[in-house]
Symmetry: C2
Subunit: 277 residues, 2 copies
C-alpha cells in the first residue's frame, strides 16, 4: 500500500559514478583473471548546507541513503517538506534541502559527541527514544510462505552475485523481494531502504525485512521505525535485539536458510501449515 | 615476536556479564528448542574520565576494545603511558587512564562531528592521515599454507559455532589462528584485535589478518596500522580497499574458501607450490 506524498526533487549531477570496476586478480592456481569489484566512495551529507556526516558507501542509491540516514538519526521527520536531494559525485556530496525547522541540528551534533561518539558508535541513549510510540500491526505468516521467500532470496543472491554481500538487506512482501541493497556496512543498507520507503511512501505494515546480518538492537529499532513487523535473518539474534522485538511486537525469525529457521518471538503469528521441512 | 611493554593494569569489576543467555525459540516444525543467544551491551568509553563514545558490543573483551578503539581513532598512541583500564559492567563503562597528554581530545571530538558525524560514519579525512608513514614488511606465503589456514579457519568456525559470526575477524600466524573475535560490528572486532595486539606487544609483521567481511578502505587502513601485511577474506574487495592495499604494499587475498582464493594484490609474495586445488 502506497500513499501519495509530495516528493522531493532528486538531482544527481556528475553521475558517472560506476558501481563496479574491472581489475585483474590471480587465482589459487596462479592464473590471472579479470574481476569486477565494487567501488566504495565517501559521501558527505549536508542538511540545509550544514555538513552532517561522511559515510563510506558503495554508492548505489545515495539519495535514499541520505534521506534514510537523516531520518533514522532524527535530523528530519517530514518527507513532504524535503524540497530536494542533490547528489554530486564530483565532490562526493549529497545535499538535502528541507523546509522543516532544523535549528536543533547543531545541538544534536554536540550531544552525539558525548552520547555516541563519532565514526562507529551506535547512539544508544537517543536511539531508543521514541520507540514507546511505535505501534506495529500483527503479521500473518505461514511456514510455506517463509520457505518460498527463502528460496527466492537464495536465487536472488545467485543471480546478482551477492555471494559476497555480507551486509545485504531487503524489503519483502509475501515471497517477493521488493528491494534489495548491499553496502559497505549494515547501517548504510538499512538506512538506504528506510530512505527508499520514505521517499516512495511505502507502508511497512505488510512487509518483511530480510538481512544477512545478526538481529541486533540497532537493527530491530530501525526496522520498527520503518513500520515493519517481521524480521528475517540468515544469522542469529542478540539478547537485546530479542528484548526489543518482544517489547515492540516484532516477529523475529533467525537462522533462516533453506527449510530451516528459528522463531525467537512471534511464533503465534506463523501458521505451521505442515510444508515438508 | 613480542616485545616487553609496561602493561596497564586491567581491572574488571562487576564482571558477571555473561556472553550468552539461554532462551526458547520455535523451529520450522513448530517445536520449541532452547538456544543460547549472544548478549549485546552498550559500553561507554572514557578517556581520563571524559566520555568519548558508547559502543554496542558483545562484550567479550572490553579492555581490548576500549584500547583498540581509542588507538585507531587517534586518541592515544603510547601503550606504556596507559596506567589502567577499568571495566565496570554495572554501569556499562570502560575507563582508560593514561599519562599521555590528551588535551587534543576535545578538539578532535568537535572535528569528528563535521568530518565524520556520529553513530555510523567512518572518519574518512582523518582516517587516511598518517598512512604515508606506514612501512610494512614483505610477506612470504605459499599456496599450501593458505589452504592449511583456510581449513583451520573452517574447522574453527564449526567448533565455536561461529556460523552466524558474520563479523568475525582473526589474527593468524602461518596456518594457526592466534586470536579470533566476533562482535556486533566489524569495527568493534577489528578494534578489539588491534587493542589486544597493542596490549600484548605483539608484532604484526609476520601475521595474517582474516575477516569474514569485505575488504574495504577502513579494513585495509586499520590492519595496516596494526602492522600486518596480509589480508585474507572470505568476501570480496572494494576498489578503494584495493587502491590502499596497493599503496601500502599489503597482500590482499579475497573470496577465500576451501581451496579457492583470488589475489588482488601481492601475488608475487605467494609461492604457488602446486598444492592440488
Amino acid at each position: 500500500m502506497t500513499t501519495t506524498v509530495k516528493r522531493p526533487r532528486l538531482t544527481r549531477t556528475h553521475a558517472e559514478a560506476p558501481l563496479t570496476i574491472a581489475v585483474t586478480a590471480v587465482d589459487e592456481k596462479g592464473q590471472i583473471q579479470e574481476k569486477q569489484i565494487a567501488c566504495e566512495r565517501p559521501l558527505t551529507l549536508y542538511l540545509n548546507w550544514q555538513p552532517i556526516v561522511t559515510l563510506m558507501t558503495l554508492g548505489a542509491r545515495p539519495e535514499a541513503l541520505a534521506l534514510g540516514y537523516l531520518k533514522n538519526q532524527g535530523f528530519i521527520s517530514d518527507i513532504e517538506r524535503v524540497e530536494s536531494v542533490i547528489v554530486d559525485w564530483e565532490v562526493n556530496s549529497a545535499a538535502v534541502i528541507t523546509k522543516e525547522d532544523v535549528s536543533h541540528v547543531e545541538k544534536k551534533l554536540e550531544e552525539k559527541t558525548v552520547t555516541s561518539g563519532c565514526g562507529q558508535g551506535t547512539v544508544f541513549g537517543s536511539f531508543t527514544a521514541g520507540i514507546d510510540d511505535i505501534r506495529l500491526p500483527t503479521p500473518s505468516l505461514t511456514q510455506s510462505g517463509i520457505y518460498a521467500l527463502l528460496k527466492n532470496l537464495s536465487q536472488y543472491n545467485d543471480t546478482y552475485k551477492n555471494a559476497g554481500a555480507v551486509h545485504g538487506c531487503g524489503i519483502c512482501e509475501g515471497d517477493r523481494i521488493l528491494s534489495f541493497v548491499e553496502d559497505v556496512g549494515r547501517h548504510n543498507a538499512v538506512d538506504t531502504l528506510a530512505g527508499e520507503m520514505w521517499l516512495e511512501g511505502i507502508d511497512g505494515g505488510d512487509k518483511i525485512f530480510y538481512t544477512t546480518g545478526r538481529l541486533t538492537s540497532e537493527m530491530v529499532i530501525k526496522v520498527a521505525k520503518m513500520g515493519i513487523p517481521v524480521l528475517l535473518s540468515r544469522s542469529g539474534v542478540t539478547e537485546m535485539g530479542l528484548s526489543l522485538a518482544t517489547q515492540l511486537g516484532i516477529t523475529m525469525i533467525a537462522r533462516a536458510k533453506g527449510r530451516h529457521f528459528l522463531v525467537y518471538h512471534g511464533a503465534e503469528t506463523i501458521e505451521f501449515d505442515g510444508a515438508e521441512a
